[in-house]
Amino acid sequence: MYVGSDLASAPLHTALTLVHAPDSCRQRLSSLGLRIGAPFSLVSRTTGGGRVALVAGSRIALGSTLLAQLRVEVR
């Protein structure tokens, strides 16, 4: 079980659930569909160590500094 890991170390193409996001960007992420408990997956790596997340049909690019602050679980 991949419990409470940071998103930077989560595998690609695996169903994930967000379990924690910093207060500073939680609302922004929520408005894009990436909220606590929401299912999503990572589809690719980007320049600068970021990832592209697939959330309810949307592709959201997340920067590397943010990845380390987001905690996820493998579903």
Binding site: C25, Q27, R28, L29, S30, S31, L32, G33, R35, A38, V43, S44, R45, T46, T47, G48, G49, G50, V52, L54, V55, A56, G57, S58, R59, I60, A61, L62, G63, S64, T65, L66, Q69
Partner: protein, 677 residues
Amino acid sequence: MAVTEQPGRALKLPLLVGPPSVKACCHTGGGIGAGPEAPVVALVGAPNTGKSTLFNALTGSRVTMGNWPGTTVEVSRGIWKTTRDAASCTCEECTCDPSELRLDITLIDLPGAYSIDPHSPDEALTRELLVGVPEDERPDLCVVACDASRLANSLYLVAQLRELGLPMMVALTMLDVAAKSGVTVDLDALAVALGCPVVGIDPRRRTGLEALAAGVREHTGIAATPRPVPDTTDALELDDDRFTWIAQAVTAATSAPAVQPRTFSDKVDRWVTAPVLGPVIFLAVMWLVFQITTAVAAPLQGFLDDLFTGPVSAGATWLLGQLGLGGTWVEGLLVSGIIAGVGMLLTFVPLMTLMFILLAVLEDSGYLARAAVVTDRLMRSIGLPGRAFLPLIVGFGCNVPAISATRILPSARQRILTALLVPFTSCTARLTVFVMLGSVFFGPYAGTAVFAMYVISIHLVVLAGFVLRRTLWRTMGAEPLIIDLPAYQVPTLRLTASVTWVRLQGFLKTASGIIVATVCAVWLLQSIPTTPGHAFGEVPVAESAYGVAAQSITPVFAPAGFAKWETTSALVVGFVAKEAVISSWAQTYAVDEPADGTPGTLGERVRADFESSSGGHPIPAALAFMVFLLAYTPCVATLAAQWREIGARWTLFGIGMQLVTAWLLAVAVFQIGRLFL
């Protein structure tokens, strides 16, 4: 028709609001908006859901659109001319032809917002106009554009608006994109779940607009029952309630495959945002853009140049001769001033058109949003979020809208910093001078020389940002990259042509306004003698007010290798607008004939001057001049935009910073360059 309003510090927009559609009749119309009694319909929705495309389709206007977030940063207003059923006319003494009952609607296009919790000034503006104004000034109907291919994310704003009980309906876009992913949407079920009307539309192909019009006619001014919400002020609890409501609506109205197939966008993104390949592709795309621009535009420029310097000038001279004005100051103003100057400027229309087409294609395809991801690391090195790249890339087209686009940034300090960096992005007006100097000094390598200017421009942005970040902005925090990537799409001819035309119009307006005024001012200064023995309009340029003024600042540029008054005077004119640099040269050289009487081309004259001012090192001197041109104040219009966005103090700071940077760089380029070239 449409106008774009510039929201200032006070965000209140004077909406022309009247009672609901009952009073609207064929007698309405006129002015900006459809008249004081016309219903006001606001287009809202998350960024990149097709609002601006819809606005343009409904009003026949041309608001700038793009397939990337943050394209709309101002409020546009237009008239949506529609008709209504004769039976629905409630005018007591209506004299209209029943078959032609018009209903003119004032349509306003608000900046994209994921929610009414503002994260940036443009989102704050949307909130202000929807809920910040008194109830009687609010729109009569909100049409919320929602993307069917990512429905859940589009519905957060719907959830919030439904809580307020505003009259609203949903216009569902991107149904074709959703279908490609195997997602189908039941519009009736969605309408029931959301508690408001829903219509499916495709604004790019202009389908479904009649159904939208019918929905608007039916529901304008009819307030919906507010959606009940938990009795709490806890934001997280409210959010949970909204997301549960959204999830229920999506479940009730859509069917999607259990595992989402990898889309074309996913496959392309694997390459274009990849860690190593992404930046390489980005640079290759930018290089290709400028290579195509310079290679394809060159023959067209040549043709137009021949046209203006040949038949047009000769025709004007003949005509003035027939009118008895041959050899007078009128001929000087018209032929050597306006025709030579503006004519030269117009020869660059093909170049600008090509650049605008290519940028529009990149925007509409969805690539520019990926470019923001690829450059995020670079932007982060100067403490700016990846989103700051968007105004900066716009700056490569024109600095003026780029300054406005800084409003998509959430923090005031980020906006000021970005607005100070935008002038270092090389706009298309500077491109015209680079192309000319590239052709004159670098021959077949002109494209590479121009590309080098763009590479230097990017480095200048980073360097200036780096220095400012570690000095005046050292206490500013960094924001993580969070950016919505739109699906790739094939650019449509209509959209590309529309965006290109809007930008080309802007260029032409500049040409016919500031530039013509500048050219005339230059001609006037060149006609005023400063030494006795010369009449007005019959003075050698070197002894004119223009020549004397330019000569006074010329020594400053001696260390940069272009201390020739003909060269530095072009820089003075370029402060007003870079488009005027070449036209001022054309004026100067056309007026100031060489002593031996050989006409020579403009390029030969310029090269000869650089040759003599640089002591036999024309190439490093030309490079130094190009770098100076790149780094100093872009134009007065940019200064005006900066003044509006970041205030006088920072604008003046920016002017000083750019002039010092430009001079230091130009001197360094020439002094180092002359050791080798």
